[in-house]
Amino acid sequence: MKVFRSHLLICGGTGCHASGSLKVKQALQGEIDKRGLSEEVRIVETGCNGFCALGPIMVVYPEGVIYVSIKPEDTPELVEEHLVKGRVLERLLYKEPATQEVIPQMHEIPFFALQDLRVLRNRGKIDPENIDEAIARDGYAGMAKALAEMTPEQIIKEVLDSGLRGRGGAGFPTGLKWRFCATASGDVKYVLCNADEGDPGAFMDRSVLEADPHAVLEGMVIAAKAIGTKQGYIYCRAEYPLAIHRLTVAINQAKEYGLLGKDILGSGLDFDLEIYQGAGAFVCGEETALMTSIEGKRGMPRPRPPFPAISGLWGKPSVLNNVETFANIGQIILKGASWYNSIGTERSKGTKVFALTGDVNNVGLVEVPMGTTLGQIVFDIGGGIPKGKKFKAAQLGGPSGGCIPVEHLNTPIDFERVVELGAIMGSGGMIVMNEDKCAVDMARFFMDFVQDESCGKCTPCREGTKRMLEILTNITQGKGKEGDIELLEEMAGIIKDASLCGLGQTAPNPVLSTIRYFRHEYEEHIRYHKCRAGVCSSLFKSPCQNVCPVGMDIPAYIALVRAERFEDAYKVMLKTNPFPSVCGRVCNHKCQAKCRRDNLDESLAIKFLKRFITDSAPRPKQAMSPVTRKEKIAVIGAGPAGLTAARDLALRGYKVTIFEELSQPGGMLRWAIPAYRLPRNILADEIRDNIEALGVEIKCNTSVGRDIGFDQLSKDFDYAFLSPGSQKSQPIGVEGENLKGVFGGVEFLRDFNKDEEIWLDGRKTLGSKVAVIGGGNSAIDAARVALRLGADVTILYRRERKDMPAAEEEIIAAEEEGIKIEYLVAPLKIEGKDGRVIGISCQRMKLGDFDRSGRKIPVVIEGSEFTLSVDAVIAAIGQVSDMSFVPKESGVSVSKRSTFDLAEGAKSQTTNPKFFTGGDALTGPDTVIGAIAAGHQAARDMDNYIRKVNGEPAYEEPEEEKIDVPFIIDEETVETPQAKMPELHPYERKGNFREVEVGFLREVAIREACRCLRCDAEID
């Protein structure tokens, strides 16, 4: 017996072959020979290990250490370190994407640890081309038992009792299928294995065949005994050459051992197997089409009944099961039905293998018990969505299936539940889609697929799918019409009803399912020619502009930076945004998340470039806008929404007066966002030059309700825009909230910004230790201000870091400055003494099910209470609007959530047609750019309404100054990371409110602008 001290199991599945595992294997062998280790160390090429995204993969035994993404040039170091020196080579170990934690042991990586391997039990453990290794792990033991000890009826009963259902898609009970065939009359019968895995995104069968072909052969022999047949076929896609090769090797080895052929294991059973290569027709995955194809004809389906169990291949009774189904059989027989059905749900037993692909960190093959939730598969095993993007939906069952959206992450996946949600289990392809995927485009993709693969036999399928594809294509190109959705639904019904086979009957599923969950996206495409995901490129110029709430022409101003025409760049920005300097500092820059450059290296620093323009260009002079309209308009609240609306209305010729309760305009920009993020003079200058210069009057220190009545306002003005914002912190709802030293987040920030000097000279103080509750931008702002006032600050947040709504760069800055953040902690009680805060009691949380936003809900860990001693608590868990200034009889209706209600079908008009609204008071707390967009919307709506009431023609935009945007791009794109924003060092930030971000240098900005790929360009 040859013993080796170490076995290197290198993955030789198609995925790892493609990423170069064969070259690594050769290099490794060479290195081992060179160092004279060939008698001690054995290299084994296994089938697919399942962790395809990180291939080539190698597991080193006996330690069970897993190395990922190995390159041939790594092998000398790998051999030297691990095999000679006995040290783990850290740089090739797996790193958990979320935590960056290095995990050396394969079984500790969550991807592997959370799986339950039955079908895939041999993956990565055996050399699939060596039958002895399969036998060593109980290969053919179930078969031996079935042949020696069981009658056909006992076998069928065992399979039936196990609850095993067909893994090919439909989920028909396997035992029942076998019984039908066993009892059908006829001397000649067939057992067939369907390995024509054709669903895009599905590769479980390929993996099983490559990693453990013997399990499939074993299952087929057992089936042969159960139904009484001598001949079997495996119908395998020609696109799977490696699987066919391994199957061929396996069959030959089994024949040599007498495990196939005549008188198997001396039991008297004869059974022969042949591999039949499919020739590339998706429809042949359908059982009757597959049989027609083996008969040597065009693979078209036949009507059922008669079912194949009665009349199948060559008209003889036949059993057809899928690869995964057969791979389960051996163990069911060996370990018994009750072992098998001990896991799973009521009607779906055992495990299911999923091919997890798409926008998920751990792409690969996953085997889990039936009933595992979608969220566990995608987040716990799959490691979540790359780059912190949002989960949108998972497509299950390929082109015959449907999608399951975020609100169903807690759904246990089994045959029944999946169908209820409008998808199908299918063969197990699970394609994860993030927020950047368009529902209509996905439907179009699948329709294109089935349209192409329809065999043409049934007219509704052949022609109907073509028509549906046309409609879908039109919608994605902005040529959709009202009624298209209904037409799609109607046609879907007809195709489903009138097609012979599974392909046609399920072809409309992806369309129906996307309409079910994402109807609003269809409507947006049809009505507003808007693709929110930024996929349907006929509908927009560039993805960054498409996602910007005000549609800033980003490629244009970036091109102007490249051309060093900064003043023109500012003018371009001002067309859509009156506050470019503000947004260059505090915008949440969704544009950068959609930047196509991100697929290459990193997104452009759009926000910083915007700021650079405002730093470098003289602000263009704005002339007073002539008042040409008789209607007088009031705006309540001088936040970004109100100021934007005022500007737009002034430009349209209205006299606008803004009423502001506080001493200076700017709203949250002035009173909540601290000066180290947005210096006061920057904001004040932009308000002066871009708003007041047009003739807008701002009345500060004037509260509507207190200083001027709502009634008076209605009398003095013809129309009003209500944008009071949301400036009241939400209560935490725990005992002790009214103690001295407890602040609301925005109240604290407002008070600090009002009495800055008093706070700075210490007449007002928080004390030395401060707890901030919350995870949004206000919480971080409050914490960083408290820190600058000299306090020791801890943020308490009830979820995980990745769930924090605050901007990532703000969180990082807070950490750099020395703020502690405690995650998964919730307040229980604020402790007080003599009416003052002395501490805060908290409890720790753990993560439970998913909420509708796709984040895990924190649940209390009982007995985990602890107390922090603090001098002040700042609660920044959310804000609401103060609507007390709106009298009931005004006819302006306010919702229970303390936001304005809109008139039916309106976007900004309230229930009293003279009053319009927008910003946080309408939507709840939102972004600056969201508020600016709301201001534009309201101004447009007000003007349109006024003109309609007056019977005037619609407003015509004046001719704009034409700014020529140069088109220069680089011939070759070289990978370059995003330019970094220079910042004050954390120690320079203590105790002052100087702006932290310093701004780009001219040459840095120009170089950064050159990285723009100019997606807006139409190249013909």
């Binding site: 895009p200 040597g296 060559w314 926008d359 699948f446």
Partner: protein
């Protein structure tokens, strides 16, 4: 299914060597009496000849005593078979879902532009034949293209040219 046009002008004596023709005879004779052997015979013949023009289909039909319409019907049904000559390398761009969502389409457009051919066509120098495929199961590496049996994974449009230039 897309119909494939027959190239009837082809002169098989010019296109194929006598050895290839002999191999074809062998393939036909070996399994002509076996039921359902048409598709395996076509597969093997295409391996041997590279493509299956009309005159070859006629020979196969005659050998198997099948109507030509039946053979033609099968050849045009399955995407594996081709009646047109093929390039030295078949360049297959995966447009399966996983590759598609990771940018397979951009790769496809880039390759079409580089080679100046459409899907199913062969470059003039008969170096490349361009095809799209549905999911080859290498989803973990998407987007991927196959050049012959070589897989190039995690591809970016900008790198497509570099990949193509490796082949001659």
């Amino acid at each position: 299914m897309k119909a494939k046009t027959a190239d009837t002008d082809i002169d098989i004596t010019e296109e194929f060597t006598p050895e290839q023709m002999k191999k074809l005879d062998e393939i036909i004779n070996r399994s002509k009496d076996k039921p359902g052997s048409l598709i395996p015979i076509l597969e093997e013949s295409q391996m041997a000849l590279g493509f299956l023009p009309m005159p070859i289909l006629k020979i196969i039909a005659k050998g198997l005593k099948l109507p030509l319409s039946r053979v033609y019907g099968v050849v045009t049904f399955y995407s594996f078979f081709t009646m047109k000559p093929r390039g030295k390398y078949t360049l297959r761009v995966c447009l399966g879902t996983a590759c598609y969502v990771r940018g397979g389409k951009a790769i496809y457009e880039k390759v079409k532009k580089e080679l100046d051919i459409e899907e199913g066509d062969t470059t003039e120098d008969r170096l490349f034949t361009l095809e799209t495929v549905r999911c080859v199961g290498a989803c973990g590496l998407g987007p991927v293209i196959f050049v012959g049996d070589n897989v190039h994974g995690r591809l970016k449009p900008a790198k497509a040219k570099e990949v193509l230039s490796q082949y001659s």
